[in-house]
């Protein structure tokens, strides 16, 4: 009886393990993307003014994203045509 209960518990645990969800989101490791080394864009110093890139604080992801999103909004010519 005890053996059967133990067996059922082990079997139950094995079945429940099948319900587990594997991590599907990429987990970033410092300095590496899935085992490959690469530098994040915001960890570079902003380019010189003559290269006409955006300006951000080196290492600050938020300021880089703000700069790149501001640049992306430049693609919206409706701002230029209708909102002046």
């Amino acid at each position: 009886m005890r053996r059967a209960a133990l067996g059922a518990a082990v079997l139950g645990a094995a079945f429940l393990a099948g319900c587990g969800e594997a991590q599907q989101v990429t987990v970033y490791k410092q300095g590496k993307y899935q085992g490959k080394p690469d530098t994040q864009a915001w960890n570079n110093a902003p380019p010189a003014a003559e290269l006409r890139g955006s300006a951000w604080n080196k290492g600050d992801r938020g300021s880089w994203e703000t700069a790149i999103n501001q640049r992306a909004m430049g693609q919206n010519e409706d701002n230029r045509i209708y909102k002046q």
């Binding site: 993307y33 700069a67 992306a72």
Partner: protein, 208 residues
């Protein structure tokens, strides 16, 4: 968190191939390799011709990454799918897996030997140190590290091709669609599959 995406507005694309030229020039892509190309349907049919600019779509769950036998792909924190040419063996599995035909293989020599895979990097370079000569030679320019967007999108004369954070470009596109007065129709069932018989309703559960 930014998720870098491309979006091509088929209502605006005039098949000028400016994006293709901009990409080839910016990244000095070799002969025979087109990281971006313009696909046209109903070519020459007045009123029915539609064009769209296609390159790597930087899929959230990229099939090329799944099939690569040497696991040379990686996805950056901005959602850009990149690959390591030092690991690539040029097998071509990614080409078969990709629904957009994005992976390209340079051919060289008398027997047309297939080289290592080359594809759109969203102008984000590769594993080499950013903004270096080595990175440029292998992967092209790293414009994201210069605070710029991909050259194809920035060069698009009609602004049909939008590139950048998915949320930002979706907002731009939504604003355009509302101004055109098409609303949900622009990507809905009717646009994809046609109106069908007069008065026919789309199947229950279908997207409007």
């Amino acid at each position: 968190m930014a998720r870098m995406k491309f979006l091509c507005d088929a209502e605006r694309c005039i098949e000028c191939n400016g994006c293709v030229t901009a990409c080839k020039n910016e990244n000095e892509v070799p002969w025979g390799v087109n990281r971006r190309r313009v696909v046209t349907i109903n070519d020459g049919v007045v009123g029915a011709e539609k064009s769209i600019s296609v390159a790597c779509m930087h899929c959230s769950d990229a099939p090329c990454m799944a099939v690569c036998p040497v696991d040379c792909f990686y996805k950056t924190e901005d959602g850009v799918v990149l690959h390591d040419k030092d690991l690539c063996i040029g097998c071509g599995y990614c080409f078969y897996a990709c629904p957009f035909g994005a992976p390209q293989f340079p051919q060289a020599g008398a027997f047309g030997l297939r080289g290592k895979m080359d594809k759109c990097t969203f102008c984000a370079g590769g594993p080499e140190a950013d903004r270096t000569e080595a990175e440029f030679k292998k992967y092209g320019r790293n414009r994201l590290a210069e605070g710029k967007l991909p050259a194809c999108a920035e060069m698009c004369s009609t602004k049909a091709l939008l590139g950048g954070d998915g949320d930002v470009i979706a907002d731009i596109y939504r604003e355009r669609v509302l101004r055109r007065g098409k609303g949900s129709e622009v990507w809905g069932w009717g646009t994809a599959y046609g109106p069908g018989k007069a008065g026919a309703q789309p199947p229950a559960g279908g997207k409007s």
